[in-house]
């Protein structure tokens, strides 16, 4: 038995065979090679002596391995972690200061903020501002830009919201809530919810009774006037979502489920996204193939104007509202 490292070839063969540790290998080898002693009968003394010798060897091997392990392990847990932490901190500091320095240097070299002859004051923004109203029918240039000129990007962004909702569902949704026997996780979530969330708080309920209709109405107003005034689907949808959450907080899931459930919110956001996709596909297809779309733009300033922007705003608003509600109900009780 030697303590020196095995040769490269042996190590290679060991790697090919996916062998166990040195200790295991030694033991297997010793067990598999028959010793000449075993060929003859052993007297009890001889047998004991051999057993003791082997015991000793095994012990030594084990101790050597253990010592090596301890040496590395102790160093790693006591000193190594501390050293690595310092190295990481130092490097992080270095990298961050480099990035900050570079970005500051870049910011200094950029065109001055708000100057008249900046590169971004070009024909692109000029057309948005000058002929935005005639071309899109929307008084709110931003709405015209995101829902007509660059509606494809906005479709992508709405899908991002949908994907975000789906990823939270994937992570937090607890089983099928229509099943007869709820799972242990569902019961636990139910218990936690009862335990931690205030129920029947009269102040909150009164405030919610007064505020929720106003908030929902205001949110809907922002959405519907998206093409006329600042706001639109994204901000109005967030307001409506907040109103729903307030109601849910004050009155709990049971009462909310009389008019709005998790399932309903999934269906609404699905249908809204499909409507968006359908309307815009029509518009993209006719636009790209130079066909007349036949969508009337109406009189700028009227509530029923600006072509597809109004329905698209409603769709985006519904998607944002449902996404917020889905997030809240999932984080609170796993979407039950």
């Amino acid at each position: 038995m030697t303590n020196k490292q095995p040769s490269l070839l042996k190590r290679f063969l060991g790697w090919m065979n996916d062998d166990e540790s040195t200790l295991d290998r030694e033991l297997t080898q010793r067990l598999s090679t028959p010793s000449e002693e075993s060929l003859r009968e052993l007297s009890p003394e001889e047998f004991d002596a051999r057993e003791a010798r082997e015991e000793k060897q095994r012990e030594d091997l084990y101790l050597a391995e253990q010592e090596q392990f301890n040496r590395i392990h102790n160093w790693a847990t006591h000193k190594g972690v501390a050293v690595l932490n310092w190295v990481y901190r130092g490097l992080a500091l270095l990298v961050c200061s480099f990035i900050i320095l570079f970005l500051l240097r870049t910011a200094v070299a950029l065109p001055p903020f708000g100057a008249e002859d900046n590169p971004y004051n070009n024909e692109v923004s000029q057309r948005y501002i000058e002929s935005g109203i005639q071309e899109t029918g929307a008084i709110n240039f931003v709405a015209g830009m995101i829902l007509d000129y660059r509606a494809f990007d906005t479709f992508g962004e709405s899908t991002v919201l949908f994907v975000a909702a789906c990823s939270v569902i994937m992570l937090l949704k607890l089983g099928d809530h229509s099943a007869e026997h709820p799972s242990a996780a569902m019961l636990e979530a139910e218990f936690d919810d009862r335990h931690h969330e205030p129920k029947n708080d009269e102040v909150l309920q009164l405030a919610a009774k007064v505020l929720v209709p106003v908030i929902l109405l205001f949110g809907f107003y922002i959405v519907l006037n998206g093409h006329l005034s600042p706001g639109g689907g994204f901000s109005g949808g967030a307001v409506m979502g907040a109103g729903l959450m307030l109601y849910l907080n004050a009155f709990g899931f049971e009462k909310t489920s009389r008019f709005f459930t998790y399932k309903l919110s999934r269906w609404i956001s699905y249908l809204a996204l499909m409507t968006y996709a359908g309307l815009k596909s029509y518009s993209f297809f006719t636009g790209a193939n130079h066909l007349a779309s036949g969508i009337p733009l109406g009189i700028p300033g009227a509530i029923l104007s600006s072509g597809l922007i109004l329905p698209l705003n409603v769709c985006v608003g519904l998607i944002v509202m449902c996404t917020m509600y889905t997030f809240y109900s999932l984080f609170r009780k796993g979407g039950m």
């Binding site: 790697w15 090919m16 065979n17 996916d18 062998d19 570079f102 970005l103 240097r105 870049t106 070299a109 950029l110 065109p111 900046n118 590169p119 971004y120 004051n121 070009n122 692109v124 923004s125 057309r127 948005y128 071309e135 007509d148 000129y149 660059r150 509606a151 494809f152 990007d153 479709f155 992508g156 962004e157 899908t159 991002v160 949908f162 994907v163 975000a164 789906c166 990823s167 569902i169 994937m170 992570l171 949704k173 089983g175 099928d176 999934r266 269906w267 699905y270 996204l273 499909m274 996709a277 815009k280 596909s281 518009s283 993209f284 297809f285 006719t286 636009g287 790209a288 193939n289 130079h290």
Partner: protein, 497 residues
């Protein structure tokens, strides 16, 4: 306008609509829905590819009623169509092959969400290929990031959750850097359309204005997309993410998600910043160094790993190193080699992941190499598929890896200088290391099992077997059709610039 030119628009919308619809479908239908979608998209893009090959020039496609700098725009070329065909076929086969594992590794109520993410990743990939607008690219980067994250964590055990978290943090850092770069670009040029940005950048470069910001923009794009595609020093999220997620997820992640980012980086270099500025900023040398380091260190990590799937994951790091080294040469031949390698690797690596899951089944779900002995006899389709794709990655003639290594060396010879010797020796060393770990596995697969090994009872799922045979055939096809593919890439790249 010919009707076939609508294909990019159709395929993007089709993917997104079916992806969103899949969330409402029962899981059983959703899986086949995804397979059908991928088949339709592949067929559509093949139609477009054949049209473009006969016409020989690219075209732009107006998304809506407003022309390009105001509205969004898509652009179709041979390269984009070719990659769309390849990636959708790979997605199809990976979904088919991973379906059986999906059924018991992912919560039954959430399997349709997995399909949603597959569809949307396909949509994001096709949009990144065809988009001619920088910001559209960013929107779809976001979709792809979230989708990939869900794919990783869909098999919910501790390790996938941790690795999804790590992926999320690093990937969002990358997205942030890309967004800063896009903002700076808009600030300097006032455009988001790729051609217009390139023109403005060329003017700025000629007049020597804003040199610092332009260099920083180049660096931010490079680091941001490098993190997302697991370029060597930023690859730490990769092994766990690929190693522990469900096979369909790891094969889609390694073959599609990282490749789409690399393609976007090429597109940004070629069509946004412009090769003149890229060459004068010397960022290519950085890419080359990181790429070469990845080639060798990734392979070394693969040799040291005890788990077959982690070995595959580390081998991805090495292969991505090849891609970046090819791009880092900065000449057309290097780009052609890199794109061919992209196609070859996405086919071979997805086959490896699916075959590995089959082999793990045949050895009692053990990841130890010693239990894999004889698995090639117990599950012939998986064994053959694994061996063929491993040989392809090592670079055995007839198969794709040989051709791509040949083109990499040719490109290095064309470039000459120090790069030539670095590239050649890195290729030789990396090939040697590839041989070590892949041939070890292949030999293990066909050795007689250890004494006393009880072969486990397992079911060979017909869907997986079909997918494995198709993948084996695809590996041969990529190698045998190397000449036409490289011709198409070269033509595509010429109309790309």
């Amino acid at each position: 306008m010919e009707f076939v030119k609508n294909v990019p628009f159709f395929s993007i919308m089709l993917c997104m609509i079916s992806g969103v619809t899949a969330s409402m479908l029962p899981p059983k239908i959703a899986k086949w829905w995804t397979v059908a979608l991928a088949a339709v998209v592949a067929a559509l893009n093949a139609w477009l590819l054949s049209y473009l090959l006969s016409v020989g020039e690219s075209y732009t496609y107006m998304m809506g009623h407003f022309p390009a700098p105001w509205g969004n725009e898509l652009r179709g070329g041979i390269l984009e169509a070719l990659l769309a065909v390849v990636f959708s076929i790979v997605l199809l086969v990976s979904t088919l092959g991973g379906m059986q594992k999906l059924e018991y590794q992912v919560d039954p109520h959430k399997q349709n969400l997995f399909c949603v993410m597959l569809d949307l990743v396909l949509a994001a990939m096709i949009s990144m290929l065809y988009t001619n607008d920088l910001f559209t690219g960013y929107v779809f980067i976001e979709i792809m990031t979230l989708g990939a994250c869900v794919l990783i964590m869909s098999r919910q055990n501790g390790r996938t959750l941790v690795s999804a978290m790590r992926y999320m943090i690093m990937s969002l850092l990358g997205s942030g850097l890309i967004l800063i770069a896009i903002t700076l670009t808009y600030n300097l040029t006032g455009h988001l359309l790729m051609e217009n940005i390139q023109q403005s950048f060329a003017q700025l470069h000629a007049s020597g204005q804003y040199e610092v910001p332009i260099t920083v923009i180049t660096g931010l794009f490079f680091v941001g997309l490098g993190i997302k595609s697991a370029l060597f020093p930023f690859h730490t999220w990769l092994p766990d993410a690929y190693g522990y997620s469900t096979p369909a997820a790891s094969s889609v992640l390694s073959s599609i998600v990282s490749k789409a980012y690399i393609f976007l980086l090429m597109k940004i270099f070629y069509r946004v910043i412009g090769m003149d500025i890229i060459h004068s900023s010397h960022v290519m040398n950085l890419l080359f160094i990181f790429g070469v380091a990845g080639m060798i260190l990734g392979s070394l990590s693969a040799i040291r790993s005890h788990d077959l799937r982690r070995m595959n994951a580390y081998s991805s790091v090495a292969q991505i190193g090849y891609l970046y080294a090819g791009i880092g040469l900065g000449i057309e031949a290097g780009f052609v080699a890199a794109i061919y390698h992209m196609i070859m690797h996405s086919v071979a690596k997805s086959s490896l992941f699916i075959a590995t899951s089959g082999l793990a089944d045949a050895s009692g779900d053990s990841k130890r190499f010693s239990d894999l002995r004889g698995a090639g006899y117990r599950y012939p389709a998986a064994g053959i598929c694994f061996s063929v794709s491993a040989m392809s990655l090592v670079g055995i003639p007839i198969l794709g890896g040989f051709v791509s290594k040949l083109y990499f060396s040719q490109a290095a010879f064309e470039y000459g200088g120090v790069h030539l010797w670095v590239m050649l020796s890195a290729l030789a060393l990396s090939t040697f290391l590839n041989v070590l770990y892949f041939m070890r596995t292949v030999i293990t697969l066909y050795r007689p099992p250890k004494k006393g090994f009880q072969p486990p009872a397992f079911r060979k799922d017909p869907r997986t077997v079909t997918a494995l045979w198709i993948m084996t055939a695809l590996n041969f096809l990529v190698g045998l059709l190397a000449q036409p593919i490289v011709m198409a890439i070269t033509r595509g790249l010429r109309m790309f610039a």
